[in-house]
Structure formats: structure tokens, C-alpha cells
């Protein structure tokens, strides 16, 4: 990654009447990066991407593409393009004409256009006979590839994706996710992808930006976001998680509701360092929690009753009701599955290295 970002956003805001769809967004996107913006619907991610390609106007802020301010440029003058959620293929044109569209606009010679379209068909694993095919005759996955080929034909600096895979069935989506990642590596282009599916984001991206209510909550590599979320929202958004409210004690330790804590100020490390009276949330992923058998010890222990067991194929998920009524999730690989039964009294434990703390002040 080069030091100079390819795209830089400075305090970008978008207001609809008295509602802020985006509030003072700052973001730097590196050249050649695969950045995914994830957020629930209504978080402003689609608005953001539409502003970045120029289909919508921002209310305030600046956007730099390399060293050029582009926020006032109309979409057709920006060297970026977008793959729409609907794909927005032109129904009155053949597959080939769709792909060639940006080249035709540039008045490129028809022979060269056609050669380029065929190259792109190859790149996207579509047979060249598709050139003449009508869009209406293409399947969902094929249309997806045509839309991608059309975007690549434009040869943009950045390609934006507005949840293009959301309408496809599961298997096809999985295949295309991998293909997209592969395509990103082969073309070396900068990809900015938005989705509400975290899994999609994790599989494909270099970095993930979590968006909520028109702001970024956290921007980091997938693993960092998973292991060290900065907020309760991010922790919960990144899949199944167990959260415990805790408070720092006068002796430098921790106390929490429904969880027994067997660590001292000394061995908790700075990670769990809460001064007296400060509140925090412990983040514990279900796969790091284990069932304790007599004689074992752990830094954190919760006692409860096993309430349910779900087989997920390679993994098994358990719901445990803690003594204080909270529900906990535990996930084990199939070969490590718990040998007890629903209704059993169980003891759950995990260690400090698998625990992340969000301080809430």
C-alpha cells in the first residue's frame, strides 16, 4: 500500500431535511485496497457510496481523488464507477453492447471495443458466444459477471459495489465472493464494497469499516474488528458474542454481575485495567468459552444450566442460562462437543487472553 491514499473524505455530511444520513465522515482509502463498508440497513452506507460515485450530492465536506477535489464533479466526469445492487444492466442492449457501453461513449473504434469485450468475457469466465446474448436470457450469476465486466471496461480508478450479490442464492454468492476477491488481486484495482453481510465482508476485504447511524464505528482489518471491537455495537454486529458488564474495584480488580472473576490487578494486564468505579464491557466470543470439568480452573467462570444445543454441521452451538438469568452462547467444534445433556448444570470458563474489554467510562 502506498502512503498516499487514492480517495480521501473529509467531514462528509449528508442531510435529508432534518435527518443526517451521514455525519462528518472521514475516511482514507488506499490504492489497490479492498475495503468493505458494513452496516445495518439505514446506516447510510448506500448514501455514502452514491455520494462517492457522484449520483448523489453531499451537503458538506470534501472528497479528494488523489490530489483532485471531486465532490462537485458530476458522475460522468468522475473516474470511478459502481456496480449497482440492481446491476442496472441496459435491457435493450446485448451482453456485448452492455460491456462495450463505456468504450462506445469514448468513441473507441468498434473492432477494438469488441476485442476488449471479449477479453473481459474471458476474464469473467463467460463464453465469448455471450457477446450476442440478450440480457433477459442471462441467469443471475451471468448478469452479475456482465455488470462487473462493464465496470471493468470503464477502467475506473475505483470500483464501488452496492451489495450486488444480495439477490443471489447462497451457493452462487459464495462462489462469486471468492471470484471477486480473486479478480481484485488480478486487476489490482481499488475495490470499495458495501454489504450488510459481515461474512461477505470478512471473506473478501483487506479492511472493514463498520457503519452505524451515518458514522464509522470502527475501521480495521477483519481480525482486529472481530477480536477487539471498539463498541458494544461492533461486538454484537460481528456475530454471536457474550457481553458482561463489569466495574473496576478499589483493589484494582474487577467485579461483574453473574461472572466469577479470578484474576488480580497484576495478572489482568493493562487490557482489563479498569480503575475503581469505572465501567466496562467484557467481550467473549462463544468459541473461546469452554465447558469446565471438575478440577479445572479458569480466569472467568460462569455457572448455569444448559438450555439448548444446535448442530451447525462442523460446529455445535449451545445456549446456557446463567444463574443471573443471562443467556450465554458457546460454540465448539464437532469433535470437541460437550458430552452432557440439555438441562445439566454446567460450568463455563475462559481465560483473560480471550477477553476483550470495552471501556464505557
Amino acid at each position: 500500500m502506498s502512503a498516499e491514499p487514492i480517495l480521501r473524505l473529509e467531514n462528509v455530511s449528508k442531510r435529508f431535511a432534518d435527518f443526517f444520513a451521514l455525519s462528518e465522515i472521514n475516511l482514507e482509502i488506499q490504492e489497490g485496497e479492498f475495503l468493505t463498508i458494513v452496516g445495518p440497513s439505514g446506516s447510510g452506507k448506500t448514501t455514502l457510496i452514491r455520494i462517492l460515485v457522484g449520483i448523489e450530492e453531499l451537503t458538506e465536506g470534501k472528497i479528494w481523488l488523489r490530489n483532485t477535489r471531486i465532490e462537485q464533479l458530476p458522475a460522468n466526469l468522475r473516474p470511478t464507477c459502481m456496480v449497482f445492487q440492481s446491476l442496472a444492466l441496459f435491457p435493450h442492449r446485448s451482453v456485448g453492447e452492455n460491456i462495450e457501453f463505456p468504450l462506445k461513449l469514448r468513441k473507441q473504434d468498434p473492432k477494438r471495443r469488441r476485442a476488449r469485450a471479449n477479453e473481459l468475457l474471458d476474464l469473467l469466465h463467460l463464453p465469448q458466444s455471450f457477446y450476442e446474448k440478450r440480457i433477459q436470457e442471462c441467469s443471475g450469476g451471468e448478469r452479475q459477471r456482465v455488470a462487473l465486466a462493464r465496470a471493468l471496461a470503464f477502467d475506473p480508478e475505483i470500483i464501488f459495489f452496492d451489495e450486488p450479490l444480495s439477490a443471489l442464492d447462497f451457493r452462487l454468492r459464495k462462489d462469486l465472493e471468492k471470484e471477486l476477491k480473486d479478480l481484485h488481486q488480478r486487476t489490482g484495482k481499488t475495490f470499495v464494497y458495501i454489504t450488510h453481510s459481515l461474512e461477505e465482508a470478512m471473506i473478501m476485504s483487506d479492511r472493514i469499516a463498520i457503519m452505524r447511524r451515518g458514522r464509522f464505528e470502527q475501521i480495521a482489518v477483519a481480525d482486529e474488528i472481530y477480536a477487539r471491537p471498539v463498541s458494544r455495537f461492533v461486538a454484537e454486529f460481528m456475530g454471536e458474542v457474550n457481553l458482561f458488564d463489569v466495574e473496576g474495584t478499589a483493589t484494582g480488580g474487577l467485579k461483574g454481575d453473574g461472572v466469577e472473576i479470578y484474576i488480580n490487578a497484576g495478572d489482568s494486564g493493562h487490557l482489563l485495567n479498569l480503575s475503581a468505579g469505572m465501567r466496562g464491557v467484557l467481550v467473549v466470543r462463544p468459541e473461546t468459552v469452554r465447558f469446565m470439568y471438575p478440577g479445572e480452573t479458569a480466569d472467568f467462570i460462569v455457572k448455569g444450566v444448559l438450555r439448548a444445543e444446535y448442530a451447525l454441521g462442523s460446529r455445535t452451538q449451545y445456549k446456557v442460562e446463567a444463574q443471573n438469568g443471562d443467556e450465554l452462547a458457546v460454540e465448539k467444534l464437532r469433535e470437541d462437543r460437550f458430552l452432557g445433556q440439555v438441562g445439566d448444570q454446567v460450568m463455563l470458563g475462559w481465560n483473560v487472553e480471550h477477553t476483550h474489554m470495552i471501556t464505557e467510562g
Partner: protein
Amino acid sequence: MERQDRRIGFLSAAPIGLILLVSFLAPLLVIGIFSVMPQKVFSLLNIPDFSSYKLVFTKGYSKSLLWSFGMAMTSTGILFVICWPLAFGMAKVFKSFSLVITIAVVVTLFVSENIRLFGWVLTLMKGGLIEGHLRTWTGFTFEGALYNVPVIVFGLVYAYFPFMLFPLVQGIAMVPDDARQAASDLGASRWQVFREIDLPLSAPGIVIGGLLSFVLAAGAMAESKLLGGQTVIVIADEIETAFTYGQNWPLGSALSIILILIIGSLSVFGVSRVNLDLIMGGKRS
């Protein structure tokens, strides 16, 4: 089951279908036969000759035809140009305000076309609304704006405005917004979006609007009579004259047949070029 449904459907549609067919075909047939009768007869029981057609091509009726089609084409072209922006606004921009425009345009149709044209005569004539006021206020005078070809074209544009506007609105409403946005995102200027996306995707609406206003204008007579004061004689006028003053039904029939043939083939050609199912609510599959 389906076959029986179809039979019942067919049977119940048969009476009205028959009436429609007869009432559409019978006059056409009568006119067709009259057009090959000898001059100035009032019976179909004569030896056919093609004297009427000969007359049409030798007596300068082609000039009237050309005037009719020329003015129809001009007014259709003008209508397209002035209706497009309004139709675009109604289909894509104005939202509920479109209804106000729709009602305003439809209300004009409640008054007979002739009466509205007389209104224009009173407005444009010497001593009328415009010239009269101008003369009173400034002393300046002119000959009024009536009795020329441009005012006839203006009349056609005015009279057939709704027939272009509403099909265009329908047509433009069918253009998906994201296709327009995608085109622009891929580098298309406004003009290129219009040419590459709007125009082809709203083609059904354009064809219907164009055909309606062209066909109506080509057969129109009131505009040239009232506003044009018969500066030029249009084909519909010739047909009327042949049937009435001229007492020459075969000639009128021959003129009608020629008009029907030209307009009919234009319509068939136009309609065959676009998928009309789309505008009737069918889906682009």
C-alpha cells in the same frame, strides 16, 4: 380446463367482437368499392373503373396530401420537442404535482375542439384580444396572426398536445432510474444518456404519442379551416368537399382510401418496431 376456459371466453367475446368487426370493416368496404366506381355515381352497382384514382393523381390532390402530411409531421416534431421535458418532469421529477398537470391538460378536452379553436381566432384575429389591446394601448397595429401556415401548425400542436404528452409520460416512466444513473456513472453526458438510454427505453411511448398526434393531425381539418382560413387546403378538407359540394362520392372515397393506406402502413410499421406490451403493463422479461 384451460381449453374450456378459452372457449367460454371466445364465445362470450364473440357478439361484441362481431359488432366491432362489422362496424369497422363495413364502412371501409363501402368506401373501397365506391373508390373504384365511375365519377359522380351514388350506387355501388356500376362497372368499376379507376377514374377517381386517375383524378387524384392528375388534379393536384397530391398537393393537399403533402400539406396535410407536412404539417402533421412538423406539428408532431414540435410536439415531441415541447412535450419531452414536461413529460420527463411528470414521470420522474414532479411526483404528486404531475396530477395537477394531468388534470389541467385533461380539462381542456372537456370543451369541443372547434370552440377552443374559435377562442384562438378571437385571440389572434385583427381587432381580437391581442391586436385590439395592443392598438388601444400603444396605437401600434398589425394584420393579426391568422390565415397562414404557421398558425395552422400552432393549432395542430395545441389540439393534439395531450395525445403526445400522456404516452410520453408513460414511456419515460418505464425507463429505470438506475439504468440512467449507471449510464451517467459510466461516463455518459446528459445528451448521451438521452440518446442511449431514455430514447430507446421509452420508445413505446414515443411511437404511440407520435402516431396518435401524427394520424390525428394528418386527418385534421378544423385548424386549417378556422385558423388558416383555407390558406392551404388539407386532404380532409378535399374529402369533405368531394362528398358534399362536389357530389362525387367515388372521388372522396379514393382520397380516403389513399389517406387510410398511408396512415395505416405508417402505423403498422411504427407499432411493429416496439414492444407495446411494455406500455400496457407487461414486464421486460
